[in-house]
């Protein structure tokens, strides 16, 4: 079987985000960009399924500008077999992204699609569920364990109550949570090898996808900052302060 993995280029998770003073967005010039951390986990899971003999091919897909090829190269260096770059300079929202993935699934017929549970730029957490809806496929979001068994997958999900297990027929869409696995380190020879792996570039119109009416961002603002507090020297001072505020008895 084939596995498709969605990989998004995002501002690195260590970057301290700065809102532009004119409210037009956040500063991305000269800022370190990376593979969305959840997508790294998604790729790793796909590779492990392949290495266990349960899949033949792992295809990494990104939607975005030319620079996103960097993240595809990372996915290829980790071990993905090939990559598809859906090139566009527009910001693509989850519903359109899901439609694009649907078109790719119609073409590639994967048995499994793995996404990150959320892209850490927009924090939407929608694309996996939307693809599953459009394809009428099962979804297993926030996965912390995936066990493939012939035509079904047993997926453990991190939910607010604890851990939930679903059994789903394949094809299915899974979204990866943090504890699904620990992604491998990419070694230099793998980076060299990845340079020779194929990246197909297609446009949204090549795929016959209509861009959905999206949400319009009117402005971007910095969040209210918490007031810097005070340092106390002793537990007694702390207790007095909390009692004064009525927070402890």
């Amino acid at each position: 079987m084939k596995i498709i993995v969605g990989v998004k280029r995002v501002v690195d998770y260590n970057v301290r985000i700065q809102v532009k003073p004119d409210g037009s967005g956040v500063v991305t010039d000269g800022v370190k960009m990376s593979l969305n951390p959840f997508d790294e986990i998604a790729i790793e899971e796909a590779l492990r399924i392949k290495e266990s003999g349960k899949a033949e091919e792992v295809i990494a897909v990104t939607i975005g500008a030319k620079a996103c090829q960097e993240q595809l190269r990372t996915a290829l260096a980790m071990g993905a077999d090939r990559a598809i770059h859906v090139e566009t300079d527009e910001g693509i929202q989850p519903l359109t992204a899901a439609r694009i993935f649907k078109a790719l699934c119609d073409k590639e017929a994967p048995k499994l699609v793995i996404f990150g549970k959320q892209a850490i730029d927009d924090d939407n957490s929608q694309t996996a569920q939307m693809l599953a809806a459009l394809s009428h496929w099962p979804q297993a979001t926030f996965a912390s364990e995936v066990v493939i068994d012939a035509d079904t997958a047993s997926v453990t999900r991190e939910v607010d109550a604890g851990l939930e297990t679903l059994s789903v027929d394949l094809p299915a869409v899974v979204s990866a949570d943090l504890r699904l696995n620990e992604p491998r380190y990419v070694k230099l020879p793998d980076i060299m090898k990845a340079k020779r792996k194929p990246i197909d570039t297609v446009s949204i119109s090549d795929l016959g996808v209509e861009v959905a009416a999206g949400i319009k961002v009117l402005k971007t603002t910095a969040p209210a900052k918490r007031q810097a507090g005070i340092m106390v020297e002793t537990v007694e001072q702390l207790v007095v302060a909390l009692k004064e505020k009525g927070l402890i008895k």
Binding site: M130, V159, L218
Partner: protein, 313 residues
């Protein structure tokens, strides 16, 4: 005129408090009516709790054995068939709502607005991005508005309502491709719920071991508090995943949040921005958590907790 439908989150017997927070958000839309839909196998007691929330006009009760557990693939088609009577469909931004709502939005062909933290108008909303380090004001396009509500931004709607309860038959074909197997909780149900508690005592990697976490539980019990944790503490197995606080865990707004041995990574802080008072105890005076703490104390967490227990005795 606007009509809002809120999806009830529940466990079969109790309405989850996050639903009452979503109702508070719905009220800001200034709708003509706010209805709640309870999808359950046997939902009469949940429906009664929903009907008691002030501001709710009607409770729709959809009973079906397939609704015993909240499986998005089963719930979504049922809700879609009701949604067309409404201008807005909302659910709390919990794992329940996050899993379910995009499936509904996609079928309706509309985008979803995730984590609504403020209603500017019936079509304009504020929501956090980049782990809450920026807030965007967004306008929804024409069509039904599907959204999830950032529960930490809204108070629990009060009781005192007496909405009518209407049984609804929904005849849509449900898929057979998904089977619920089991759910297991991390235990500790005897303690207050992390998302509802007024006080939360949290431990990080600095606590050192699962065994050591007993001191965190001990202090929490003394304060009647819920127990939280950083991702690092969960990852190394000190405490189950349902205690994780942060961007990718639970976003909480207790009156008092006490962080022990947590450095204060931005992903963790994203979960506690709305806490009333933050207390941080860390042996490293340069730990970033002190930049947001109302009261910081540099010291060994075990010593501090011991002294606190004495002071509270």
């Amino acid at each position: 005129m606007n009509k809002v439908l809120v999806i009830a989150e529940h466990d079969g017997s109790n309405l989850n408090g996050s639903t009452a927070r979503a109702i508070s958000c719905a009220k800001d839309i200034q709708a003509e009516s706010i209805d709640i839909v309870v999808l359950a196998a046997d939902g009469s007691s949940v429906a009664e709790q929903a009907a008691a929330l002030a501001g709710v006009n009607k409770v729709l009760l959809v009973q079906n054995p397939a609704n015993e557990h909240p499986v998005a693939a089963f719930l979504a088609p049922q809700i879609e068939s009701l949604a067309t009577d409404y201008t807005h469909v909302l659910a709390p931004s919990t794992t329940f709502g996050k899993d379910l709502m995009p499936r509904i939005a996609a079928h309706l062909g509309v985008p979803q607005i995730s984590d609504i933290m403020r209603v500017e108008s019936a079509t304009i909303f504020d929501r956090p991005v980049y782990a809450g380090n920026a807030i965007i004001t967004v306008e929804a396009p024409a069509g039904i508005i599907v959204g999830t509500v950032r529960t930490a931004s809204y108070p629990v709607a009060e009781n005192g309502g007496s909405a009518s309860i209407e049984n609804r038959e929904v005849s849509v074909e449900l898929p057979s491709h998904t089977r619920f197997v089991s759910v297991s909780t991390g235990g500790g149900e005897e303690r207050p719920d992390l998302q509802a508690a007024a006080t939360v005592v949290s431990g990080g990697r600095g606590v050192g071991s699962e065994e050591n976490f007993k001191v965190i539980y001990g202090l929490a019990d003394k304060l009647g508090a819920a127990v939280g944790a950083s991702r690092a503490a969960v990852d190394v197995g000190f405490i189950p995943n349902d205690h994780q606080v942060g961007q990718t865990g639970k976003i909480i707004a207790p009156d008092l949040y006490m962080a022990f041995g947590i450095s204060g990574a931005i992903q963790h802080l994203a979960g506690i921005k709305d806490a009333g008072t933050i207390v941080a105890v860390n042996k490293d005076a340069d730990a970033p958590i002190f930049e947001v703490a109302d009261f910081g104390l540099v010291g060994d967490l075990f010593q501090v907790i011991e002294d606190l227990e004495k002071a509270l005795a």
